[in-house]
Amino acid sequence: MTDNFTARPASTAARTTPPGSLARGAAPSQQSACWHLFLLTLKRQFFSRQTLVALSLSALSCVIIMAWSRHPDPDARKFAEQIVVPLYVVFLMPILAICYGSSVIGGEREDGTLIYLLMSPIPRPWVYTIKFLAGNVLVAGWSLSALLLMCLLGGASGRDVLPVFFSACLLGSIGYSGLFLGLGVLFRHGTIISLAYWFFLEVLFGNMPGIIKRVSVAYYVRCMVYDAGSAFDIGPRGRVARETFLAISGQAAAQILSLGIAVLFLVGLVSFWRREFRDLN
């Protein structure tokens, strides 16, 4: 692999690197550096205390489902509305996203170890992109694994609703992850801001009447779920519930969520690129 750090020097004067300078002669590779940053991020996040807590929360959720599956006459609609939406969509998915999303950059910033990444010869936009990808892999991986396990434990009802939730939850978890990653870049206490966002905008505003709930990721996930789950009669029933929820089509929700993810990625990337992290040392 040849040297592919391609930034141009500020002047065209003869370069003054002494002969034999090992920094020049060893042909470092940017792809290799990026790949190792990706692996490092995955490894550090996965083998961390938050994984243990995430595991405990997922296990507790599974116990809840096992208890629920012993209820008299469980069905797919009840499973979706009593378990997956309140337990998974509203709580577990955003919490798992906060767990990894906000600590992928926010944690390094809080610990001060971000300095080592900023001193590596990987351009900052790449550092953010790699962190974004690693964060998404972890969040989406955890979230979808938890969903799969929950649906399998839910018995026939769970297996029925799994396809309904799968794509919506994939997009939702990536959306949350991108959002919380961005908040970790923008704010010093990114985790707390993420938490406040989740509580006030997702939980409180998400249940208010009117269009205010359209600021929440969970709203679009629910729209996609209700659209895909119409066969199981999943979704708001009755005039009041429908008019309070004001659903949009699943396709529109998916498009908005995808666009949101792209915008969040760009905002986070530009912010990380331009930002001077004065709190590191």
Partner: protein, 318 residues
């Protein structure tokens, strides 16, 4: 015969650099060249040393002017290949072993695994941590952590090593080893910038010093050059002689002697200006009158005293 000294080309350059934090100025119109060799960065708290280092390591971008490392802007990714940075803060990937941490840093610099391993072992050997590097960083002493931080900054073979307070937490033997290491590093035609408050060690360590105060570079050069530059600042000289009183009668009449004090019957403390002229005239006096001298020493040529002078000369007061 004429001898010409070829000034080594700079590895890093500050060109009219100013950095503001809102209304507060961090560094003000700084122009400095960092050449191969050890350069000490000195100054009181709030002098702008940290901002200087952050600009050099590309953590901050200058508000005005440019900071170049090997002709690349310091904040660019390309410049990072030439910089090794050992931060002051005691942060590491605590769950890793020292060896793994250094290896990780090597890999993040894009080295292939084989080269990275080789370089890791070499860097650990440089800081004398080869046999202790498998311990988890969480359980390492401060001195060991300091060495590991230094090893990670060397692993990609940078041209410029920036070390912030490197001797903190290191025992006296370790300090001498690190100082020897810095000298060895510079023998390869590379540069070290050492920021420190331990001026005594800077005396032994740095070939050049940069004095900062209020965001400005107050003085730059070797300690001797700076001393000469500040010749108009009074300097203290201690003379021991059995004929101290006779000697004093001559010295008191000289223009460069500002004050004479008797510490003991055989010991004089002088306050002089223009040391070069004073010592020329003083040697003539000794030879002419055959004065017997036990010792002559300037008591404030150390960096500490120069630092004191520079700060006073800049009107900062101490």
């Amino acid at each position: 015969m004429t001898t010409t000294t070829v000034k080594p080309s700079p590895i890093a350059r500050f060109q009219h650099v100013t950095k503001w934090y809102g209304a507060v100025i961090g560094v003000n119109e700084v122009s400095v060249d960092l050449v191969p060799g050890i350069t000490g960065l000195l100054g009181p708290n709030g002098a702008g040393k940290t901002t200087f280092i952050k600009l050099l390591t590309g953590q901050l971008k200058p508000s005005l002017g440019t900071v170049l490392v090997r002709d690349y802007p310091a904040h660019s990714a390309a410049a990072k290949r030439f910089i090794g940075f050992c931060p002051d803060t005691d942060v590491l990937y605590e769950e890793m072993s020292g060896r793994n941490f250094v290896l990780t840093m090597a890999l993040l610099h894009g080295l292939d695994r084989h080269t990275a391993r080789e370089r890791t072992e070499a860097a650990l050997a440089e800081v004398d941590m080869l046999d202790r590097a498998d311990r988890t960083l969480r359980g390492c002493s401060k001195g060991m952590r300091q060495r590991i931080k230094l090893a990670q900054s060397l692993v990609h073979h940078p041209d410029l090593l920036i070390v912030d307070e490197p001797l903190n937490g290191v025992d006296p033997v370790g300090r001498r080893e690190l100082m020897d290491f810095f000298h060895r590093f510079c023998e390869r035609g590379k540069a070290v910038l050492v920021s420190s408050h331990i001026l005594e060690e800077m005396d032994k360590l740095a070939e050049q010093v940069i004095f900062m105060g209020n965001g400005r570079v107050l003085a730059q050069g070797t300690l001797a050059e700076i001393r000469e530059m500040l010749a108009e600042q009074p300097q203290r000289v201690r003379i021991r002689s059995p004929q101290a009183r006779e000697l004093a009668t001559h010295l008191i009449a000289w223009a460069h002697v500002q004050g004479v004090e008797f510490a003991h019957d055989d010991e004089l403390h002088l306050k002089i200006l223009q040391p070069e002229a004073f010592f020329r005239q003083f040697s003539e006096l000794i030879v002419t009158h055959w004065f017997e001298l036990t010792s002559v020493e300037t008591t404030d040529v150390s960096a500490e005293a120069i630092f004191d002078y520079v700060i006073r000369a800049a009107g900062l007061g101490i």
